[in-house]
Amino acid sequence: MLDAADICSKCWTLMTIAIRILDRALREDFGFQHLLWVYSGRRGVHCWVCDEAARKLSVAARSAVAEYLSLVKGGEEMMKKVVLSDPIHPFIRESLTVVERYFPRYALQDQDILGRKESVDKVLALRLHVRKELQQDFQNEKKPESRWKLIREQALRKQSTAKKGQHFEKEIMLQYCYPRLDVNVSKGVNHLLKSPFSVHPKTGRISVPIDLKELDTFDPFAVPTISLICEELDRPREGDEEEKSAETNENEKDTAERRKIRDYKRTSLAKYVKHLDQFLDGMARSWKGHLLRKSDLQKEF
């Protein structure tokens, strides 16, 4: 029996969608530039927003940012968790663009939401007004893609007549694909946060930064675990014997320390640390630029 806490390879697409939507919004809408995306080690991702402006935000401002980014609202008692009304805000439009790219493969194929009866019922429950018509149509049409086309057509029909409730195909896509944010952790400043490169207690995987340039090929199951790292560290180094004989007693401690610091390069962590370094370099450059501008203004030379 599957533990609900495990992930499967099909679900990871949700994280890809989440990262694309939120990265765009934080950069283009809010103007933040220094974003570090980190894999949590199990089934989620964290985004570290490191701009100075972000770090100085008040609690109310943090809360506002989190709510701006939230589209899916409601606990177990709420069936319809996304409600759209006219006009559709540019943020929602942009997010929909991302969702629409992934929806056919993720929801219709991988998760087969319009194939299995229980899932179909759940989907149709979100749209009670046209449920009966769709249920009838579905008797004759079994292919998920065609069923989805029928849903879209119903939505288009409603859009020209109804004044509200006409965006249900968008609402369905968003309810299945839009990311769920942990708003409370984002709002407060007293929460303990998981540090990058820590080990996840349930899976043993290292919480590694994600390079967005390689986002589409990121595989959470290929992320190194602590046991793998230990294994790699235990492997004998090349050129180990020569190093040992060249050491004197006083230098031994220094060399050992330096060796320990370099050791990560022999493990699978190397590329992730490199990515972090590049991120930090970017921040340092930006800070230097800021200092230069400041000193120019103050006419210091």
Binding site: E28, D29, F30, G31, F32, A53, L57, S58, A60, A61, S63, A64, V65, E67, Y68, V72, K73, G74, G75, E76, E77, M78, M79, K80, K81, D86, P87, I88, H89, P90, F91, I92, R93, L128, R180, V183, N184
Partner: protein, 483 residues
């Protein structure tokens, strides 16, 4: 004394200049002598006004017609200014507005909670009054208070036309053409950002002149917050005046109401009773939480807080609570060790035995509705606010509420304001015949009391006509539209 006339003449009295505008930021404190009686009346009246603001804000959409009408009548009753023109009567009311605000600052600056409440109501009050001003006076207010932001060029407006129109229901192509748009840093317009009612690009929001009120509100809120912090520092001097201290204490306790934290009946409830009590005397939110707990043998943090504190309020002791939660969680995926490690601490914390030892009070309805909205996997919150209307209707029917009772859910005036209050009232009704009269006197939530009495309900005729059912759906729909 010279009263200001309609035409702006040279006035020799500086105070009339002070009250020339109906609205103010309360930047300067009043500098006059007054009688203690007037002091007290002003303060109490303003508190009544703020409480009305709070209640209306929960029952109605802010600035909607019923909201505005009811608030205006309260203004009239309590003699607060609501007319934009100046005149002798208005002068007195504006003076009262000014002074009463500053008096309440003294009472409400003392703790974080009090400050938060005061600021929230004053902001809502200000929003209503600013909104009511004619356009010219709005402009005048802005100029008087130095709110200056840059406008964007005509070219930029043109290029952003689609985005601007799609960001706000109130912005049309004509709005973009006719009005100036201000470029404001998003930190100064949090309310608009939070509700996504504005176009946001690269950290700036683009606001049409007609919406500048939100900026004003933010400014008001910030100034008031800073002022309260300063006021708190001068409190010792104020408290040393024996005439003021009792009044100020009374004022700051008035808003809280009973908090059900004093446990008069600890140990009177046994664990075996909880299941049946949940059906008879728990409000819907707690009943829901109890059911989820029994079904899933688990509740998430929000649910544990809301339900756990409620149980404390009805009389569960710490030992009972630990036993209750542990026995239920063990039936699920949690073993005894894990419970002791991960969950017991939280329960002890609730009872004030860990951490800063704060004896947390059970949540009031206001708190349940407004803070910590439920998300995926949660069962807490208020069913009348956070549930799907269809599901809610089914639940109420299942709990034997009459159809007419269900439609009354939409009309009811909100006077129940604490889940533990519901429990106590319900127990009283169930307990004795002489208390039946109380049921007649509490008309606001008949459907809830009916649910509590279960099969004994004498009053309603439970018919099940399909037409009535269809009407009900619409009532519930429109209720939840406003919420």
């Amino acid at each position: 004394m010279q009263f200001p006339s309609r035409r702006r003449k040279q006035t020799s009295n500086p105070q009339t200049e002070l009250y020339a505008h109906p609205l103010q930021f309360y930047g300067e404190p009043p500098l006059e002598n007054m009688s203690l009686a007037e002091f007290e009346t002003f303060a109490v009246d303003r508190l009544k006004l703020l409480k009305t603001v709070e209640n209306l804000g929960v029952s109605y959409v802010k600035l909607s017609e019923p909201y505005a009408k009811k608030l205006e009548s309260e203004f009239k009753n309590l003699s607060f200014p609501y007319r934009p023109e100046s005149g002798p009567n208005e002068y007195d009311k504006r003076r009262k507005d000014h002074i009463s605000h500053f008096i309440l600052r003294l009472a409400y600056c003392q703790t974080e909670d009090l400050r938060r409440w005061f600021i929230q109501q004053e902001v809502d009050l200000f929003r209503y009054r600013f909104n009511d001003l004619p356009a010219k006076q709005k402009l005048e207010f802005l100029h008087r208070n130095n709110l200056q932001y840059d406008t964007i060029s005509v070219e930029e407006k043109k290029s952003l036309l689609d985005k601007l129109v799609n960001s706000s229901y109130a912005v049309s192509g004509i709005t973009v053409e006719d009005q100036d748009f201000y470029k404001v840093p998003f930190q100064d317009a949090l309310d608009l950002v939070r509700t996504r009612k504005v176009y946001l690009k690269a950290g700036y929001v683009y606001i049409p002149h007609q919406d500048i009120v939100t900026i004003v509100l933010n400014d008001f809120r910030t100034r008031l917050s800073k002022a309260l912090a300063l006021t708190a520092r001068s409190l010792p001097a104020v408290h040393s005046d024996e005439r003021l201290q009792p009044l100020l204490n009374h004022l700051s306790h008035a808003y809280v109401g009973q908090d059900y934290s004093i446990q008069k009946n600890v140990g009177k409830i046994s664990l075996e009773q909880i299941d049946s009590l949940s059906g008879k005397s728990f409000p819907l939110c707690m009943r829901q939480l109890h059911q989820s707990l029994r079904e899933n043998h688990h509740l998430r943090h929000g649910g544990r807080m809301q339900y756990g504190l409620f149980l404390k309020g009805i009389g569960l002791s710490l030992e009972q609570a630990l036993q209750f939660w542990r026995s239920e969680f063990i039936r699920g995926k949690v073993d005894a060790d894990k419970f002791d490690k991960a969950y017991a601490y939280g329960i002890r914390h609730m009872f004030g035995k860990e951490g800063k030892r704060a004896d947390y009070t059970p949540y009031s309805c206001m708190k349940v509705i407004l803070s910590n909205a439920p998300s995926q996997g949660d069962h807490h919150g208020c069913p009348f606010r956070h549930s799907d209307p269809e599901l809610l209707k089914q639940k109420l029917q299942f709990y034997k509420v009459s159809p007419s009772g269900i439609s009354q859910v939409g009309d009811a005036n909100f006077s129940l304001n604490h889940p533990n209050q519901y429990f106590i009232e319900s127990q009283r009704v169930l307990g004795g015949g002489k208390d039946i009269k109380r049921e007649m006197d509490a008309p606001q939530r008949p459907q809830e009391i009916t649910a509590a009495k279960g099969n004994n309900a004498p009053r309603e005729a439970a018919t099940n006509d399909p037409q009535g059912l269809a009407d009900m759906t619409e009532d519930l729909d429109s209720f939840f539209q406003d919420a």
